[in-house]
Symmetry: C2
Subunit: 353 residues, 2 copies
DNA sequence: CTGAAAGCGCTTACAG
DNA sequence: CTGAAAGCGCTTACAG
């Protein structure tokens, strides 16, 4: 019980190393009072607050969120499980989540799923014990499938809230909504309005969940116009997607429009068009169902439609922090925006020509 | 002292919720023994280990890394401070760091600096108290500048190791090395070998540290060839870089080669060439001093030279975990690789034509 | 209004 | 070989 706290002046802890006991000693109060000015300042008179805060500043004291968490069960940390952090949209979401979390005093643990359900399950099982208050899942992969869906439910039941990007209210897994169906419908409709008679959907095989919705929206729009539906399912970043598009371009009724799930897929369509000397957008119009900055860096700049990563990240974190706080936030479906650039006709105002 | 631990069979804690006491009760040993099989199994006889491990499996017990950290001072967590998580190379590094950390049982806290020195300093001050064992800084920005450099030194002195990407042994801030000077030199030399008589360097103004080295390498190569040096410093993702290149293309001695710091900058050069109907690579060869997958998705595919994000992430984490373990790892300079694609002549083998 | 005490889930000397 | 006790840095009933 003796000699534990430093005397009035000596043994100043190195900056950022001070503990609540150091502050208490310097302010001449108990650790209880220090804790109270931190957590319930309303219970402490102004002059005491001032003294304690003086000591806090002087020592550069920052309470250890880990020690607090051990006591309160809240660690001010969320985990972000991302399908593939190196994909343009996903990395923009990661950035947005980091910013939104920071604004709420939350740390973000980054976990890359690499499109593996096994990894998803492992993370879900580990994270709650790692001091994580909640989990954001952002991926185009199907997380409702067999085991993963069960583990998500189990984790939620265990008290760790989970928010999943792109889930609509009718979905069991329910999260922050993106209406992929409407987005693909709008994209397809836009191409048809611009004169496309043979618009084709190009999606990645990793996108089982999102892909099914894109296909639904695409089919609806195509049917409405009395046209045929052709869906090309391929792998990302692979020469095969270029090959597939190439084949459609040299068919007897060649494709004259591509609705691509992602910007990388759209780029493979650009490559294919270039390969067989078709002009974009004149011979082949292209639009991607994903909003990423990269789209305007390339030549030709790719037209896009979708929710922004910023809106998505912000909504995911907001929704999650409500859940963590024990509230039941309303389900919101995010608005999508259309950015017409050089791969579709009628370039919109404000875009670089 | 009574009724604290569950009886032999009832009150099974929900999965992932078991504590070391639950395991001890089920295995019929003390928490000390459980902790020992976790941390010093060599001190425990095989049959006891088996019994305890049985209980661990049955309860799905995972020790809380936060509670352990409170005791040991190690939280098995590192922070990744990244200049801009939405930039292609940085996001690939983030992914690589996440994977490399995971392989070592470390969690990764993602912090986006958004190119702000202020934010860097704030993170550096907060993180050690947030239960972070070490910090990786990955940015092209200059972190040695005035205050930031001092805060890095201070944080290190406080006992939190920091590894900085792209620092060479001669650098005060010392980290994992990337020889930007040699990379730019090699890139420039390659263009000159391919016939460029007026190669120009295009770098971003955010890259003060890296930019200076790129410029040095570029100047060396250009001088060696008896050519003039022209350095274009611009902003990222901005129409201004396109404008700057455009101007050089319509000068009396037009540029016939661009050494771009990053792939996004290279894309702005492509845009400029397209704008004034110059052929790439015939009229204008382009190479980027950065290895990112995106480079092969675009048309024309961009030639690149640099270290891969994977090697970088792995080396950063390896170096950091050595430091955390109290060892003094040797400084390694990462090898760089050249990928010639469509924006330079003589496309290399194995690339999509 | 304020402090002593208990406890969050662990680990590690210290005794048996 | 094993366990009781102390303690990591906090917060929060519980008494004054």
């Amino acid at each position: 019980m003796a000699a534990s706290r430093p005397a009035t002046s000596p043994s100043a802890p190195s900056p950022g190393t001070a503990t609540i006991l150091d502050v208490a000693a310097l302010a001449g109060v108990s650790r209880t009072t220090v804790s109270r000015v931190l957590n319930h300042p309303d219970l402490v008179p102004a002059d005491t607050i001032a003294r304690v805060e003086g000591a806090i500043d002087e020592l550069g004291f920052r309470p250890s969120s880990r020690a607090r968490g051990l006591r309160t069960g809240r660690f001010d940390t969320i985990a972000l499980l991302v399908g593939d952090a190196s994909q343009p949209f996903q990395s923009a979401v990661a950035k947005a989540v980091a910013r939104a979390a920071e604004a709420r005093g939350l740390n973000v643990l980054l976990c890359d799923l690499d499109h593996s359900e096994e990894r998803l399950i492992t993370f879900l099982r580990q994270l709650p014990r790692q001091g994580v208050d909640g989990i954001v899942i952002s991926t185009g992969d199907d997380v409702s499938r067999s085991r993963a869906g069960a583990v998500i439910a189990e984790t939620r039941a265990g008290g760790t809230p989970i928010v999943i990007s792109g889930r609509l209210p009718e979905d069991d897994l329910f999260g922050v909504g993106v209406d992929f169906t409407s987005i693909a419908d709008a994209a397809t409709t836009r191409l048809i309005e611009n004169g496309s008679r043979r618009p084709i959907l190009l999606i990645g095989d990793a996108d089982t969940y999102v892909g099914a919705r894109w296909a639904a929206g695409y089919r609806a729009a195509v049917e409405r116009a009395g046209l045929d539906a052709v869906v090309l399912q391929t792998q990302y970043s692979d020469a095969t997607s270029t090959q597939l598009v190439l084949r459609e371009l040299s068919a007897s009724t060649p494709a004259d429009g591509i609705i691509a799930g992602t910007v990388p897929l759209a780029l493979s369509a650009v490559r294919a068009a270039h390969h067989c000397r078709r002009l974009v957008p004149d011979d082949l119009a292209i639009i991607a169902c994903e909003q990423v900055g990269l789209a305007e860096l390339v030549t030709p700049a790719v037209s896009t439609i979708g929710v922004t990563a910023e809106a998505s990240g912000e909504a995911l974190v907001e929704h999650l922090s409500q859940l963590i706080a024990g509230r039941n936030p309303p389900h919101a479906t995010l608005p999508y925006v259309l950015s017409e650039r050089q791969t579709t006709r009628h370039p919109a105002e404000g875009e670089t020509r």
